[in-house]
């Protein structure tokens, strides 16, 4: 693909269909999906269109392109270039397809939305249609099973940790790359059984070729963008004629809005829930603030002279600054945190006393690679865990209250909670 990019005038000769397919496969790769070649053309085209929409591409001409892929190669070219910049398409591709030989683990604490598979849900409870009563014991059984799975997983993880650590420890000091310092499982196995890893070697070599091509392209970037501008100019000259015809056909399809957008539905649902929560907090705050304020003014009335004193004003100013800082910190926490890492990291063992021995001197000249220490991640995870536990307890408390109400209605029985 990079070779093609360097010969970009030929793009104009690319058939639209091929271009759609190219975009489809690229976008699929970037978001980690499986590239199913068997997808029909219009499915692929729909996918590409929705992806572009998702990232905020707003050129209507693209969305008006027919779904048989017969026209619009220049529109696609524009869209492609926009994507190149907007999501760093090439860099993403390189990163996603990177040959990873380390022990990888992820550090992000985001909760992925559970996949929206309606089918999956109905499969699980085949015998329990709505007419039958659901047996709560079934629920308990499922719950127990879930716990069992969690525990097994925990045991497995711990075992894995132990072994990983051993391997890291034993191979310390051997790696070519002094920053890493030791081998990973794959690398150790590679040394032990090199014949199993011929494919890895091939991938590594082809990746190197891709990287070199990428670098070449970067050097020609300027020419590329200038060319794109000319394409845009040509398009806008021709485009003004066709716009009026297509516009009114599109309006009719856009009116089907209400039947769709499950995405928007769930998102607005989330937003509404958040707004509700925030609203309650806000109202609480309002109440609290008015209450406190009136109390404060009451107090202040009796201390007029004290307020005039210089030292109180100075103290007040200091307090104001402190509060500002506190609030700033809070807003920072509420605001998007660019620093958060998603994706996987390579696990590296660095014992505290050997940190000085590894060849850090060599890497002083380069920019430091982003490193995250396990201590920080553990701390964040602990905070996250604490807040989740609080949330869970709160939910349980709410249930308890409602159950108590129900218990009152139960005749002849008292509930004594554990």
């Amino acid at each position: 693909m990079f070779c093609m990019l360097t010969l970009f005038p030929r793009f104009a000769l690319l058939q639209s269909l091929q271009f759609w397919r190219l975009l489809y496969s690229l976008l699929k790769q970037v978001h980690g999906g499986q590239c199913t070649e068997s997808d029909a053309t219009d499915t692929q085209i729909r996918f590409v269109k929705s992806a572009l929409w998702y990232h905020g591409y707003g050129r209507p001409e693209l969305y008006w392109l027919p779904s048989d892929g017969s026209a619009g190669s220049r529109e696609l070219l524009l869209a492609f270039s926009w994507l190149l910049h907007r999501i760093g398409l090439l860099e993403q591709l390189l990163a996603r397809n990177r040959v990873r030989t380390g022990d990888e683990t992820s550090v992000c604490t985001c909760e992925d939305d559970l996949p929206n598979s309606q089918k999956g849900r109905t499969e699980i409870a085949p015998e329990y249609s709505l007419e039958d009563k659901v047996d709560v014991r079934y629920l308990q059984w499922l719950n127990g099973r879930l716990r069992f799975q969690w525990r097994s997983l925990h045991a497995l993880h711990q075992e894995q940790c132990k072994l990983l650590h051993k391997i890291h420890l034993f191979t310390s000091g051997s790696h070519m790359d002094k920053i890493l310092g030791h081998f990973s499982v794959t690398e150790t196995d590679l040394i032990r059984r090199p014949e199993n890893y011929k494919q890895l070697l091939q991938f590594l070599e082809s990746e190197t070729i891709q990287l070199e091509a990428f670098l070449e392209w970067k050097q020609l970037e300027q020419v590329y963008w200038r060319w794109m501008e000319t394409v845009l100019d040509n398009m806008s000259e021709e485009g003004s004629m066709c716009k009026s015809q297509d516009a009114h056909t599109k309006k009719s399809t856009l009116s089907k809005v209400d039947s769709c957008c499950h995405w928007a539905g769930s998102l607005t649902g989330k937003i509404d829930r958040l707004s509700r929560d925030l609203m309650t907090v806000h109202d609480q705050l309002q109440e609290l603030v008015t209450h406190r304020k009136s109390a404060w003014y009451e107090k202040m009335k009796t201390r007029e002279e004290e307020l005039q004193k210089e030292e109180f004003c100075a103290a007040a100013r200091k307090i104001q600054e402190a509060v500002q800082l506190k609030l700033l910190d809070l807003t920072y926490r509420c605001a998007p945190r660019k620093k958060k890492m998603h994706g996987s990291c390579r696990l590296v063992f660095r014992s505290k006393h050997s940190a000085s021995k590894t060849g850090f001197g060599r890497s002083v000249s380069k920019e430091p690679i982003s490193t995250v220490s396990a201590t920080e991640v553990i701390r964040e995870l602990q905070m996250r865990k604490a807040s989740l536990e609080r949330e869970l307890k709160q939910l349980q408390e709410e249930c308890r209250q409602r159950m108590d109400e129900v218990a009152q209605g139960l005749d002849g029985v008292i509930c004594i909670s554990p």
């Binding site: 996918f47 929705s50 860099e91 992000c108 132990k162 845009l232 607005t268 705050l285 209605g409 554990p418």
Partner: protein, 557 residues
């Protein structure tokens, strides 16, 4: 056109063991675990499991008898092995415990299911081999041989004894040895596929499922077994590290006679290992290429040309473009998920009384600031909502695409790093084994909690209306109440006690809080009064059957 996907992140699970063992052995094939049934998704307890349950019951009864007889035989009869003392002491207290449990246990419904019960009582034929054999050396490494992957721990595949090659047999034996330590009941081990985690699971299940539906007879043995296995599992899991080491030594012991004593393990030569030459060259070329790409800075002209193009193309976009793209909306909403919680915590912090004038002033200012933040966030949410709605109008997917108009497109993860940031693999540095373990454990716990919260919400939405509608006959209402209470309020671990009012007399609260007395002497509250306050004032150890178990279950994770 498609770039090859060279993802070597998937490794066989057994690989770390293989690496730590001897490198000149060629028998890796037997390491591949047969993942026969570990991935089955059962939707309900099968009749097979019911059978297994029966088998387990019978095996456990036998086990009790055997153990009693073993305790009576002199220790020499077992051949002077080292760890037997531990085994001896083990049974004694456990036995007592079992008796207790048998006495006070309640019935367990038939539908209680226990996982991973072996269908092979034949393995119980070799009780003697389950005893502790080798002395447990504390040499850290010498010969750790292959061992079957822990994936097998959770599989239900019965082992075929005697057919596998010697190493497998030895490792199986070693595994059994390990379990003999942890569960000092050999029959139980043999019958129950010898899994620590099984033990834990059984007890976990039993705790939740001791809903008395009036079926008292069948479950007694089961609870006894569950207790033992649970304690076994608890010990086992807690000493997972050590016991696996011990297992390795016993295996090594067994195998030491087979193989030559030369040691060729990772520990000895680990620090002198080098990549093969070809790979070394490829690797250094590759890492240099990555570095160059990462450090490359676009020239100013190129950047200018690019920005110009982007600006121009954006002028051709639909004129009232929404303020946020769908990707941005999602990102922002995700970030704001934590805001209400954060604010609430801050408010709680400020609720306390403040002794000094300054503190009060500070608190007042903070609260006002919080109020501002809250309204700003609300405003932003409003904007996001409007943007989402206007994006919906532009959505190209909305032409009846198969009914579910979620755009196929799932946003790529890891986008927040910026386009050059992705070119370097970040490193996660840990400094000790304990840190690594904590890291993994915490990650798992966070996922678990997320799941639990989601489940809790769904259960609340589904179960509470069932109770509140009061459409069931009286008898089952109580049990239903208890079951739902357990699930919702105690996370399925502990359950409330529901005495009947007419059983109680009004003689007042006695001095001694025995469980029996609890039932007899609790003064019925007046109707309409708050039942939760008497409950709260009750002895918190009102849990009859589940106290120690519940606490222990929370201990392992």
């Amino acid at each position: 056109m498609v770039l090859p996907k060279a993802n070597h992140t998937y490794q066989p699970v057994y690989l770390p063991w293989a690496l730590l063992g001897r490198w000149d052995t060629e028998d890796e094939e037997q390491l591949k675990p047969d993942r026969s049934s570990s991935n089955e998704q059962e939707s309900r307890p099968s009749p097979k499991e019911l059978e297994e349950l029966e088998l387990l019951n019978r095996a456990l009864e036998k086990a009790l008898k055997v153990r009693k007889s073993i305790l009576k035989t002199p220790p020499e009869a077992r051949g002077g092995r080292e760890g037997e003392k531990a085994a001896n002491e083990g049974p004694a207290p456990k036995n007592a415990q079992v008796q207790q449990v048998l006495v006070s246990s309640e019935g367990v419904p038939v539908t209680t299911k226990v996982r991973a019960v072996s269908k092979k009582p034949t393995s119980s034929k070799k009780p003697s081999s389950y005893l502790l054999t080798a002395p447990y050396r504390t040499d850290p490494d010498v010969k750790k041989t292959h061992r079957k992957a822990p994936a097998r721990c959770v599989s239900q595949a019965p082992r075929t004894a005697g057919k596998s090659p010697s190493k497998a047999a030895a490792s199986k034996q070693a595994r059994n040895h390990r379990l003999a330590i942890s569960a000092s009941n050999q029959e139980v081990c043999g019958a129950a596929e010898s899994q620590k985690t099984t033990g834990l699971s059984k007890c976990a299940l039993l705790e939740q499922q001791s809903v008395s539906i009036g079926d008292s007879a069948r479950g007694k043995n089961l609870i006894a077994a569950g207790r033992q296995l649970f304690d076994a599992g608890k010990e086992g899991c807690g000493s997972l590290g050590e016991s696996s080491r011990r297992e390795d030594h016993t295996t090594e012991d067994a195998l030491g006679r087979n193989n030559s004593p030369q040691t060729d393990t990772l520990q000895e030569k680990g620090s002198q290992l080098k990549f093969p030459l070809l790979y070394r060259k490829a690797y250094s070329r590759n890492s240099r290429a990555w570095e160059n790409c990462r450090l490359y800075q676009s020239s100013a002209d190129a950047a200018a040309a690019r920005n110009r193009f982007i600006e121009r193309i954006q002028t051709t976009f639909c004129s009232p473009m929404p303020a946020f793209s769908p990707a941005e909306i999602e990102e922002e909403v995700k970030v704001m998920q934590d805001v209400p919680l954060l604010l609430r915590q801050c408010v709680e912090a400020e609720r306390a009384d403040h002794p000094t004038l300054q503190r009060e002033y500070e608190s007042l200012l903070t609260l006002e600031g919080l109020q501002t933040i809250a309204s700003q966030c609300l405003h932003k949410l409003q904007l996001l909502r409007e943007a989402a709605e206007s994006q919906m109008r532009l959505c190209p997917d909305c032409t009846g695409y198969a009914g579910s108009c979620r755009p196929d497109y799932v946003p790529p993860r890891g986008q927040g790093c910026g386009s050059t940031g992705v070119l370097a693999v970040p490193l996660l540095c840990y400094s000790s084994l304990q840190e690594l373990r904590d890291l993994f454990a915490l990650k798992l716990q966070v996922s678990m909690l997320n799941q639990e919260i989601a489940i809790q919400k769904v259960m609340m939405a589904e179960l509470l209306p069932v109770l509140e509608s009061r459409l069931h006959p009286e008898a089952s209402a109580i049990q239903l109440y208890r079951a739902i209470y357990t699930q919702l309020c105690e996370g399925g671990k502990r359950f409330p006690v529901l005495p009947f009012r007419n059983e109680l007399d009004s003689s007042g609260v006695p001095d001694t809080w025995t469980p029996g007395a609890l039932f007899r002497c609790w003064r019925a509250p007046q109707p309409g009064s708050d039942p939760s306050s008497p409950a709260a004032s009750l002895l918190r150890g009102g849990e009859r059957r589940s106290g120690p178990a519940a606490q222990s279950t929370t201990k392992t994770l």
